[in-house]
C-alpha cells in the first residue's frame, strides 16, 4: 500500500497543470445554457482536444492518450483546481462513451468517438420521462420499425444540454407496452429533428429540456447493441454513471479549497469553521476512497453496488459545501451572478442549486440507500 504517485503520474500531472495554467480562460465563460455560452464551451473543448486532454483515458486512435484511471483522476484534480470551465461534453464522454466501448460496434466507435472527443458532436442524454423519473422501467416512449430503421415517438424530459446539443441517446420501447424492463432498445439520434423545449430553472437558466419525438426516423445502425437489450446496456451506463466517472473527486476538492478560503476571508464563526473543516476532510475521504476503488477496477475487480455509497456521499457533501458557503456569505448568500455584490460571480448560488439535483438524479439517494442495504449488506427486499 502506498500513496505516492509514480514518476510517470507526476510528470503527467505537471504537464496538465502547465497546459491549464497557460490556457484556462481568465474570465468565466458565459453559461453553457445559452447558445453563445454553449459555443464558447465548445471552443474551449476543442482547445482541450487539440492538447489530447479532452478524453485522456481513451485510446489514442479516438483522440485520447490511453491514460490509466489514476491518471484520469489526476487530470480531474488539476482540471478543477485550475478553475477550468464546466465540461459541456460530459454526457457524451463520461456517460455514453463507456457504453460505446462496451456495446458499440467498431463502426459505431469509429463514427462517433472522434467527433465526441473534438466536441464536433456534443451529446445530450434522454433517459427520464414525465411519468418515469426514478422508475426508468416505466418508460413509454416507443420506436416502431420502419424501412431499414425505426421511427421514434413520445416524450422525454430532464435532458441536460439538449437545448443546444447535436446528438442524443436514450431508451425507447420496441416491445409491447407495460413490459417494464423488457423490450427496450438503446438509440442514438441527431437532435436536429426533435422538438426541444427548454425547462427554466430557479436561476433562470434552461439547464434541462423536454424532447418530443413525432416519428423521427433513425436508421438501424444507430441502435446501440441489440434491439431489446436496452435495459441491460443502460444499466451498465447507469452503473458507470453512479460509479467512478460521474463525479470525480477533483471537483469536490476544488470546491472544498474554495470553501476554506471563503471561511478564512469571512472569519467564520467556529461552528461554521468546524463544518468547513469537516467538509474539506470529507472531500479528502472521497478522494482516498476513489483511489482505492480505481485500484480495484484496475485489478479487474467488480465494484458493483458499492458505487452507490460514493453517489450518496459525494452528492450530500456537495449540497453541504454549497449550503455552508451561502451561510458564510450571510445576507450576500442568496445573490446571483447578476448582482453587483455577488461573491465569485454568483458561482456559490449556482453551485448550490446545481448541487440540490445531486441527491435526485442518477437514481435518488433513497434508491441508492435501498440498493446498499439490499445488494451490499444483503438485507431482505
Amino acid at each position: 500500500m502506498d500513496l505516492d504517485f509514480t514518476a510517470a503520474e507526476q510528470e503527467f500531472r505537471a504537464e496538465v497543470r502547465e497546459w491549464l495554467a497557460g490556457n484556462v480562460p481568465r474570465e468565466r465563460l458565459p453559461s453553457m445554457d445559452t447558445r453563445a455560452g454553449f459555443e464558447a464551451h465548445r471552443e474551449w473543448e476543442r482547445q482541450l482536444a487539440h492538447a489530447r486532454l479532452s478524453a485522456v483515458s481513451w485510446p489514442r486512435e479516438y483522440g485520447g492518450r490511453a491514460a490509466s484511471l489514476i491518471e484520469w483522476l489526476v487530470f480531474e484534480e488539476e482540471y478543477w483546481a485550475a478553475g477550468a470551465p464546466g465540461r459541456v461534453t460530459q454526457n457524451g464522454i463520461l456517460l455514453l462513451a463507456p457504453t460505446l466501448f462496451s456495446y458499440g460496434s467498431a463502426a459505431q466507435r469509429d463514427r462517433f468517438l472522434p467527433g465526441m472527443a473534438r466536441a464536433d458532436h456534443i451529446w445530450a442524454q434522454a433517459w427520464s420521462e414525465p411519468e418515469a423519473g426514478s422508475d426508468l422501467a416505466a418508460l413509454t416512449a416507443r420506436a416502431e420499425p420502419a424501412g431499414g430503421g425505426w421511427r421514434l415517438h413520445g416524450h422525454k424530459t430532464w435532458s441536460s444540454r439538449a437545448s443546444h446539443a447535436d446528438w442524443g441517446f436514450g431508451l425507447f420501447r420496441t416491445g409491447p407496452p407495460g413490459e417494464r424492463h423488457r423490450g427496450l432498445t438503446y438509440f442514438l439520434f441527431p437532435l436536429a429533428e426533435v422538438e426541444v423545449r427548454p425547462i427554466t430553472q430557479l436561476n433562470g437558466a434552461p439547464g434541462f429540456a423536454e424532447l418530443r419525438f413525432d416519428g423521427v426516423f433513425v436508421p438501424g445502425d444507430q441502435v446501440l447493441g441489440e434491439p431489446g437489450q436496452g435495459w441491460r446496456i443502460a444499466m451498465a451506463t447507469a452503473s458507470s454513471e453512479r460509479g467512478l466517472t460521474l463525479r470525480s473527486p477533483g471537483r469536490f476538492l476544488a470546491t472544498a479549497d474554495r470553501l476554506l478560503r471563503l471561511a478564512r476571508a469571512n472569519d467564520a464563526d467556529p461552528v461554521l469553521a468546524d463544518e468547513v473543516a469537516r467538509a474539506w476532510l470529507d472531500a479528502e475521504a472521497y478522494r482516498l476512497h476513489t483511489y482505492a476503488t480505481a485500484r480495484r477496477i484496475a485489478a479487474g475487480q467488480e465494484i458493483g453496488s458499492a458505487a452507490s455509497m460514493g453517489k450518496v456521499f459525494w452528492s450530500e457533501l456537495d449540497v453541504r459545501m454549497h449550503h455552508l458557503a451561502l451561510r458564510l456569505l450571510g445576507e450576500r448568500g442568496p445573490l446571483s451572478a447578476a448582482a453587483p455584490d455577488a461573491e465569485d460571480d454568483g458561482r456559490w448560488l449556482d453551485g448550490f442549486l446545481f448541487s440540490l439535483a445531486g441527491p435526485i438524479y442518477a437514481g435518488t439517494n433513497e434508491i441508492q440507500r435501498t440498493i446498499i442495504a439490499e445488494r451490499v449488506l444483503g438485507l431482505p427486499r
Binding site: 426514478s134 430553472q201 448568500g333 448582482a339
Partner: protein
C-alpha cells in the same frame, strides 16, 4: 398561563388567509409582484395599522396579535415588504404623527435597513424607506433614494443596495433595536408559514405521484423525511410565538427569545425546502411548478435579519455567559 391564541387573534389570521387565497394566489406571486397583490385588501382589514397606536388610527395591538397573520403572509409567499411595514415601521416611526397616520391607514408601504443589514428588501415596492445611518434612523421617500438591484435567488423578494443624501432624509425618533426585534420575529413567522406550505405541497405531491407502482408517499423513507419536517415546524412555532410575547413585554430575555425564534424557524423552513425538493424531484425548482417561489423565499428569508449561524452564535454566548440563565415563563 394560556399559551393559545385568542379568538380575535385566530379570526384575524383566518381573515388574512382568506384574503390571500382570493387576492394572492400563486399566479400573483409568480407574475404580479410589481402590483403588490392583496395589499389594498390587507390595508382594508387594518393589517398595516395593527401595531400603530390608536391615536393615529391604528389598533394599538402587539406583535403577538399579528404573528399568526404574518405567518399567513409567509404561507402565501405574499410579495412586498410586509414584515417591514407591519412590524418594523410602527417602532421606527414612533412619534412621527403624520407618518404613523398614513401607515395606519394603509397608505404607506415601508421597507427598512436596520441593524447589520446591508440590503433593503423590496425597496422598489416601498413608498417610504427607513434607513439607519450611524445608528440613527432616517425616513426617506422612495423617490429620494438611489436603488441598485442586487439580484438574487428570489425573483419576488428583491434586494436593493440603497444610497441616499442625508439631507433628503428626515431623522425620525423611533427605536431601531425594537424595530429590528419585531421584524426578525415577523420574518421568523413568515418562515414558519412558508414551511407549512412546503410541507403541505410535498404531502400532496407524495400522495399522488407514482413511481415503482405506488405513490411515492407510501415509501417509508419519504414518510419519515416528511414526518421530520412536521416535527421541526411543530417545535419551532412555539418559539416564534413566545418571542412575539417577549418582545411585546420588552422582557430581559427578549433578545435571546428572538434569536431562538429566528434560528429555529430558519432551520425548520430550510429542512422543509430541502425535503420538498427531494420529494418532488428536479421538477421542484423549475418554472414548471410554483414550488420554486417558496424555496427561494425560504432561502432569502433565512438569510435576512441574521442567518441561523449568527443567531446561534448569539444564543451560545447568551446562555453560556450565565451560570443559570433565566427562563420565561
Amino acid at each position: 398561563m394560556n399559551f393559545a391564541f385568542s379568538d380575535d387573534q385566530l379570526a384575524l389570521a383566518s381573515t388574512v388567509r382568506d384574503v390571500l387565497r382570493d387576492h394572492c394566489p400563486p399566479s400573483a406571486v409568480r407574475t404580479g409582484r410589481d402590483r403588490r397583490p392583496a395589499w389594498a385588501e390587507l390595508a382594508g382589514i387594518g393589517l398595516f395599522g395593527l401595531l400603530v397606536p390608536e391615536e393615529y388610527g391604528g389598533l394599538g395591538l402587539g406583535l403577538a396579535d399579528a404573528v399568526l397573520a404574518l405567518e399567513e403572509t409567509g404561507r402565501a409567499a405574499l410579495p412586498g415588504p410586509v414584515a417591514e411595514t407591519v412590524a418594523a415601521a410602527p417602532a421606527l416611526l414612533a412619534g412621527e404623527d403624520d407618518l404613523l397616520t398614513a401607515l395606519a391607514a394603509g397608505r404607506t408601504a415601508v421597507s427598512v435597513r436596520i441593524g447589520d443589514q446591508v440590503y433593503v428588501p423590496d425597496a422598489d415596492l416601498a413608498d417610504l424607506l427607513v434607513l439607519t445611518d450611524g445608528g440613527r434612523p432616517y425616513a426617506v421617500p422612495a423617490a429620494g433614494a438611489l436603488l441598485t438591484l442586487q439580484a438574487g435567488v428570489d425573483p419576488v423578494r428583491r434586494l436593493y443596495a440603497v444610497a441616499f443624501e442625508p439631507r433628503a432624509g428626515r431623522p425620525v425618533g423611533g427605536d431601531p433595536l425594537a424595530a429590528l426585534r419585531r421584524v426578525t420575529v415577523a420574518v421568523a413567522a413568515q418562515l414558519v408559514g412558508a414551511a407549512r406550505h412546503l410541507l403541505a405541497t410535498s404531502v400532496g405531491h407524495a400522495g399522488t405521484r407514482r413511481q415503482f407502482g405506488a405513490p411515492v408517499g407510501s415509501f417509508q423513507a419519504v414518510k419519515h423525511q416528511l414526518a421530520d419536517v412536521a416535527i421541526a415546524i411543530e417545535f419551532a412555532a412555539p418559539l416564534v410565538y413566545r418571542a412575539a410575547l417577549s418582545v411585546d413585554a420588552d422582557l430581559p430575555t427578549a433578545a435571546r427569545d428572538v434569536s431562538a425564534a429566528k434560528a429555529a424557524a430558519g432551520e425548520a423552513a430550510e429542512r422543509a425546502a430541502r425535503t420538498a425538493l427531494q420529494v418532488h424531484g428536479a421538477i421542484g425548482y423549475t418554472a414548471e411548478l410554483d414550488l420554486r417561489l417558496w424555496l427561494a423565499r425560504v432561502w432569502s428569508l433565512s438569510a435576512a435579519y441574521g442567518g441561523t449561524a449568527v443567531h446561534r452564535s448569539h444564543l451560545r454566548e447568551a446562555l453560556l455567559a450565565s451560570p443559570a440563565p433565566r427562563r420565561w415563563p
